[in-house]
């Protein structure tokens, strides 16, 4: 049995789709995450996608590509995307890529937290 290093929790409310990612987002996991998230977005067509990163332990640049790809899809359907509560280590790679220029990032951990 393959061990998965991530999980997705999703809930919908008033045009919002809130997705909580767990675990590690790397090239291996990004492949199936991409499919699952795209299926959700195209099925539910949310006005706003909130991606909760608070319990993501690790993310490399494959995760950046995953997030940018979902942002592109949300824009195609006329929606927006927000990243929620990345810990300080996740925020480091998000800042390196200048992600705050492309999408809203809320609930950023203070330095030293997470």
């Amino acid at each position: 049995m393959l061990h998965t290093y991530y999980q997705i929790e999703a809930r919908k409310k008033d045009g919002l789709l809130i997705v909580r990612l767990y675990g590690e987002i790397d090239h291996h996991n990004a492949m199936s995450l991409r499919r699952e998230l795209d299926d959700m977005i195209m099925r539910d067509r949310p006005r706003r996608l909130l991606v909760d990163l608070s319990i993501v332990d690790f993310m490399d640049s494959s995760g950046l590509g995953l997030l940018m790809g979902r942002l592109r899809l949300m824009r195609e359907i006329g929606g927006t995307m927000v990243l929620l509560r990345p810990n300080a280590r996740i925020m480091k790679i998000l800042r390196l890529a200048g992600m705050e220029r492309f999408m809203e990032i809320d609930g950023i951990a203070r330095k030293g937290e997470g």
Partner: protein
């Protein structure tokens, strides 16, 4: 590069198939071995991130056409530095300078961000890339543990 460093206190050499399932395992192995130098959580994440990028490059780019192996060596030194090399026998990089440019990727259709080398350069304290087309690539990185 970095091969003449003295006062090596420990070393491990790992060979693994270049399959995506091994990306997380490579990170875990490197983190476990580097724990001897007592890094902070942030330093450990920097090292894991850089190794993850180098290993992923092997899988996604070096062995795009044929299967192969990844060779990782981790060397610990008395001055609390770690030198990590990630080597492949894959296709090699024709233009290393261009490959290291932020956002440059040869695999945009698969949502590659082109940030792999940028992460390695920014999260580690030194990076050297050697490559020969048709022969393979060696990425060597150094991290000084400040804690």
């Amino acid at each position: 590069m970095y091969n003449t460093r003295k006062n090596e206190i420990n070393r491990i050499d790992i060979t693994m198939p270049a399959i995506s399932e091994n990306e997380g395992k490579a990170r875990a192995l490197v983190a476990a071995f580097c724990a001897e130098l007592d890094p902070t959580a942030a330093e450990l994440t920097d090292i894991k991130s850089a190794v993850s990028e180098a290993v992923t490059n092997c899988i996604v780019h070096a062995y795009r056409v044929k299967k192969g192996k990844i060779y990782i060596s981790i060397r610990l030194f008395a001055d609390k530095t770690v030198v990590i090399s990630v080597r492949d026998d894959g296709c090699g990089i024709a233009d290393v300078k261009r490959a290291r440019e932020p956002l440059f990727t040869t695999d945009a259709e698969n949502e590659r961000s082109g940030m792999g080398f940028t992460v390695m350069e920014n999260f580690m304290d030194g990076l050297h890339v050697g490559s020969r087309v048709g022969k393979g690539t060696v990425v060597t990185m150094i991290k000084r543990i400040a804690s």
